[in-house]
């Protein structure tokens, strides 16, 4: 950042972030109140069960791990001026290719095998991002539409494998694969479900912050997003950047997918994602691609997602209530760019 008013800019960013947090909690409260529940009690319960108790907190962080990665998967293309709605599909394809690598690579030390499985997940997500990226770079189809459509295709492909060739014979009534052979080697904090995926998320968040803010590559990426016409006239390979941003974004979402399969479920099944890809989109829009914002907002959305279970028990709310809430937040968020446009 070369802007001298850097401190000013950070004050402004923090202000916007806290405003968003307050707004979301407000909407949540109103929503509960409209359902005839006591919002204060709900907040208290959430605080008590999900934040102040170590086990609850670790569960929040467990949910936060894939959100960090899928949000980054949306943020990287966003910096290049692309709207990636397809993190959900990329997440699933990462899960799929990672599973394939787990079953089909043999004869390697477990650690190496694990690394290859994670890489395969990134490749799967990256390929699923490459398709819309290439179509956009060629100037054929807008990436928003293709990523959205590919979100419908990905579950069908995963479904084909878990219902068909990869289905575990021993548990025939559940459509799922057998346990992945790498599962026992995946680093997990003892006594919790907190796993390596969280640290990978933090690592990539830090990398993202550094690369977009300080490196030449980040500057070039943001130049492509900020004014593609000027970037082209300056001799930047704009098309290659568009493709690269989608591949990178897809790879990060794919990593989230494979980590979820290995760490949480142990096997591939239809329900590996409760919508982490969509939530990642939400996180990025709430955070306007700012790294600190991504950290805060994925934590917040993880709390909300976990509170779904708490509320199910304490307030007898169906879990789907949380989905309704997320949709509400989405509307709040989508109004944001327009307000910003007016301010200029």
């Amino acid at each position: 950042m070369v802007l001298k008013s850097t401190s000013n800019r950070w004050v402004w960013i923090l202000f916007r972030l806290s405003l968003t947090v307050v707004l979301i909690l407000g909407v949540f409260g109103l929503f509960l109140w409209a359902l005839g529940k006591n919002p204060l009690k709900a907040f208290q319960d959430t605080l008590r069960l999900n934040l102040l108790n170590p086990r609850g907190l670790s569960e929040v962080v467990v949910r936060m791990s894939p959100l960090l990665l899928t949000a980054l998967g949306v943020a990287v293309p966003f910096r290049a001026g692309l709207i990636n709605v397809g993190a959900e599909g990329q997440f699933l394809m990462g899960a799929l290719l990672g599973t394939w690598a787990a079953f089909n690579i043999a004869g390697l030390p477990p650690a190496l095998h694990l690394v290859l499985v994670l890489l395969a997940g990134m490749v799967g997500g990256g390929l699923w991002g490459a398709v819309p990226g290439a179509l956009r770079a060629l100037g054929w189809v807008n990436e928003t539409i293709t990523t959205l459509l590919l979100n419908y295709l990905a579950p069908l492909i995963v479904g084909y494998f878990v219902f068909g060739p990869w289905r575990a014979p021993e548990l025939a009534m559940y459509p799922q694969t057998p346990e992945l052979p790498v599962v026992p080697y995946f680093p997990v904090l003892p006594g919790t479900r907190l796993h390596l995926g969280f640290f990978l998320g933090l690592f990539f968040l830090g990398l993202y912050a550094y690369m977009t803010g300080r490196s030449r590559w980040g500057l070039e990426l943001r130049a492509v997003g900020g004014n593609p016409e000027a970037a082209r006239r300056l001799g930047m390979p704009v098309e290659r950047w568009l493709l690269a941003a989608m591949v990178l974004g897809g790879a990060l979402a794919g990593l989230a997918g494979v980590a979820e399969v290995v760490a949480i479920h142990g096997r591939l099944k239809m329900a590996v994602s409760p919508g982490y890809g969509f939530m990642g989109f939400l996180v990025n829009w709430l955070a306007f691609a700012n790294p600190l914002g991504i950290l805060i907002m994925s934590f917040l959305l993880a709390i909300i997602a976990s509170s779904g279970f708490t509320l199910q028990i304490t307030q007898r709310l169906p879990y789907a209530a949380v989905n309704v809430l997320m949709a509400l937040i989405l509307f709040v968020v989508l109004a944001k760019p327009f307000r910003q446009g007016v301010r200029r």
Partner: protein, 516 residues
Amino acid sequence: MDEDRLTCESDKTVVCLRGITKRFPGVLANDHVDFQLQSGEIHALLGENGAGKSTLVKILYGFYHADAGEILVHGRPVHIRSPRDARALGLGMVFQGFTLIPAMTVAENVALFQAELPRFFSPRELEQSIRAASDQYGLALDPKAPVWQLSIGEQQRVELLKLLLAGARILIFDEPTKVLVPHEVEALFRVFESLRAQGFSIIFITHKLREALSCADRITVMRQGRVVGTLLARAATEESLLHMMFGEKLPEITRSPGSRAPGEVVLELRDVCTRPVGTAPALDHVNLKVRAGEIVGIAGVSGNGQRELGDVVLGLLRIVRGKKFFLGQDATSWSPRQLVRRGIAFVPEDPLSMAVVPGFSTLENFALMDLQAFSKFLGTVMNWGKVRTFFREGFTKLGLSPLPEPVRASTLSGGNLQRLTLVRELSRPYHLVVGLYPTRGLDVRSANAVRQAFLVAREQGKGVLLISEDLQELFSLCDRVLVIFRGRIVGEFRPEEADLTEVGRLMTGAGVLHGS
């Protein structure tokens, strides 16, 4: 000035600004500005780039809010919080970028702007009222014409018509002549005069002293956020205005006449044709050579293929027939990236949309010139110290004062944006520089600095392709001038043997019928 202060409350003063002050982070854009506009006058606002002219009129029109000072309209103090307030007071502003919808007709565009348009209106009545207004003020507009077919000058007059029909009596123009060709400028000034005769008051900003002297009644000169003075146009001369604007005598441009023979060919277009895009003309068998140490000018009315010519040179527009050579190599199908790397510097006509990233600071924008050279360790670390050094050097070398580094490009004044682009492009290693209207929007001193920079480039043995509408500029700088009309090169001249009327005839297509 005391005399002016007295007139502030008089009936003749329609707008009075008193002590207007506006501070942006790091700059005092307006510093206790006093300004009066009288009823039925044309008032020109002059001043160097970044002097605060646009800021002043934007405050009057409610875009910005002054930190201090007051505004009186018809002698009454007013608070103008938004352009809507300004319009309610009878003010109207014509912008640089027009806000018209290309697919709609003149009448439809005008209708959209009327505040109290009935839900159902009669298109015929609307057309009649437009025709009547167009005749009354001499705008020469056809209400039924779709806007995309109109020239820039006509579109500007549609903007004006919108304001007039909405009841504006005080009109503000920010650099209205920047994008106009000479005959359109004349047409605009005729409209100004007819408006003045009917009691309208007009403020217009310009960098061309001649325009201010020929068209305005009074002239106000600004410098570094302050008003230097207001004087009657009758009593002003170019010298006195320049002195007020810069406080110093401007250096003359020096051109060594053919002191050295041009070197080898840097750029050659051989029989180049392109496909037409939209309504823009296609290049039609263009032949062109630019040698090292030579300035080649392209004269023409804008919209006759200049932009396409620039895009072909930079590799942005595909050549469907013919060949392009750069430094002796066949470059017909090279990408912009390859061409830029081999040494083409390019100054496009619209820097904000074509050359800079609006959200980046001036320094970051400068760094885009050559990111590879400005970064270390495989591009993971930017060397901002080096960027800063080159940035400052680039400005000083061209004889311009450096821009502040941390400022966002989107907040730069029009002229400063143009400077940033020029300095960046001329700071890279290059063999050929292409300039599209490079002095458009620059104040007289900066424009001269840029012209001098092109002459220096020529001395250093670079090739220069200068695309401009300013014949005087072309003929004082160039070794050869080609005339372009509808995508064809229709004539070639040497400045010393040129006949300006003949060039003018060719530019407007009059010579084409006789073949050339």
